[in-house]
């Protein structure tokens, strides 16, 4: 999945411009960004729900921006999308919601549909609630049901819009593990849009950050997690001091005043990435990533390089 020079505006207001990145196949990527930087808009542009003015989004050879509607509809079947609050159909029960893509796109028998749906329901921990209507369950459950529906067609690309919002920390941790396990099982390319630091620190192979109408950076997780770029550092530290203000940007005077008064950000500890649950196969994406990242090692800044070498080093040894 390749994104090239994507630019989107609403009327006079430019959301972001010239976003270029490649989501490596089978790997998990996270797009960070303060609220209101167009993360959701970015996600919707990838699936062709919104049309950016410039640039291309290539998915399996189809340009999701400029291709005819028919091709876009075909390509969308490769996607599983989890929307911010689930986007379940209010008139259908959870079971029917999750079965919807199967009934729509496959000719499976009802018994088989039932088996697949219950499997997914179990996966997201909603057993017992599958006969309820979306209006009768909590926001977190709606989200998980939305994820189950996104997974039911075994998509090759999974997009998650803020999987954590409305979930407690424990459920967020379970969800993070679920996403990694999924990736191990079906080797899907995943993009998670979030501003949750726990997810950002433990789930992805690659990270990017949107700020001030630009893709600040996109690369291996170590590159962003060790970055000393002010925007990234402030965001990861979750502090007020830095270029991000309440309404997106700060003026220079405030910044200078802060710089005099500010304490340094606390030292960041690079948390290890989550591994698939015991019993699952190793992630094929992680294998590919290892070669890819090691090949690009000389290009990366020193702290990132050191972190990558540390993470790939076998216990007590070093990568030659």
């Amino acid at each position: 999945m390749v994104v090239e020079g994507l630019t989107k505006s609403f009327g006079r207001q430019n959301v972001w411009q010239d976003v270029t990145l490649t989501l490596p196949a089978g790997e998990v990527s996270v797009m960070l960004g303060p609220s209101g930087t167009g993360k959701t808009v970015f996600l919707k542009s990838l699936i062709g729900l919104l049309k950016p003015e410039h640039g291309r989004v290539l998915v399996a050879g189809t340009d999701m921006v400029n291709s005819p509607e028919r091709d876009i509809y075909e390509t969308r079947k490769l996607f599983g999308v989890m929307f911010q609050d689930g986007a379940l159909f209010g008139s259908l029960s959870l079971f029917d919601n999750i079965a919807f893509p199967l009934r729509e796109h496959t000719r499976k028998k009802e018994s088989e549909i039932r088996r697949i749906v219950m499997e997914r329901v179990e996966m997201v921990g909603l057993v017992g609630a599958e006969r309820k209507l979306p209006g009768e369950i909590s926001g977190g459950m709606r989200k998980r049901a939305g994820l189950a529906r996104a997974l039911v067609l075994d998509p090759q690309i999974i997009l998650c819009d803020e999987p954590d919002s409305g979930l407690d920390p424990v459920r967020t941790a379970y969800l993070s593990q679920l996403l990694i396990d999924l990736n191990a099982q079906i080797d899907a390319t995943m993009l998670i849009v979030t501003h949750n630091l726990d997810i950002a620190a433990t789930v992805p192979d690659n990270m990017g950050m949107l700020f001030r109408r630009n893709l600040v950076t996109f690369g291996p997780r170590e590159a962003l997690l060790t970055s000393d770029e002010p925007v990234v550092a402030q965001f990861l530290a979750g502090r007020r001091e830095g270029p991000i203000g309440m309404s997106e940007e700060k003026d220079a005077a405030t910044l200078a005043r802060e710089r005099r008064a500010a304490l340094p950000y606390p030292e960041r500890v690079l948390a290890p990435q989550l591994e698939p649950s015991p019993g699952l196969p190793p992630r094929a994406g992680a294998q590919r990533r290892r070669e890819r990242v090691l090949a690009m090692l000389p290009e990366l800044p020193e702290p990132a390089r050191a972190a990558i070498l540390r993470s790939y080093a076998p216990v007590g040894g070093a990568v030659s």
């Binding site: 006079r12 010239d18 996607f79 986007a87 159909f89 529906r149 630009n214 690369g219 290009e299």
Partner: protein, 281 residues
Amino acid sequence: MTVADHRPVPPDPAAAPPPPPVAPPPSRWLAPLRETGRLFALAGTVVRDTFRRPFQLREFIEQFWFVASVTILPAALVSIPFGAVIALQVGSLTEQLGAQSFTGGASVLAVIQQASPLIVALLISGAGGSAICADLGSRTIREELDAMEVMGVSPIQRLVVPRVLATMLVAVLLNGMVSVVGTLGGYFFNVIMQDGTPGAYLAGFSALAQLPDLWISEIKALIFGFLAGVVAAYRGLNPRGGPKGVGDAVNQSVVITFLLLFFVNMVLTAIYLQIVPAKGA
């Protein structure tokens, strides 16, 4: 993946990147024209998708039943006094002119050609269209329609087409009912209240009215049903910002439909009177 993608942007927080050249925003004066164009585009898509398999029979029946159930009773209740008013008005006019024997014909023409399709239009857009608009609008802001599109299912084919067809069918059937009830109301008031002669009232029907009058009435109802459905769907699919936007959209859809229907009615009536010669002329 190319290596260049990983190079971080030089840290330079002070200098915000210049906004890219954005095309000048489209003129506000052209906005109504643009909206009209998109409305027509939706109408075209609805017509095209009507013939696309699989037809959503279940949704169609549900919507048909819903629209019919909210419109039948009000339509009947409105058409009785409407037929009566026309009968009384025409009755007193013909009495002044000394043409009482044509009271029946004149009032039945007025009811079938004008009153009935308009009553149907008002009820379909006011009761059925507003509900359709609110339903689609709330689904749009809950991202249900986005989700549907992402799953490769066209919301127009799946949701809008059955609704538009349902409003069209209900409009045609309702028009028949309103014509009958309105005519009966007119008969009752003319014969009972104004001491008209039942035989003369009924004979007037065939003296002035003819079969094409019935056709144009049903054609009007069909077109009004289509317009009401498409306008309601259009506003419902494009609400502006949040739940408040849905309320505004419903409001606008009813007003727009009213304006549109009265205008279309005028055009259709003018065309009909031109191409179909009046009886006996």
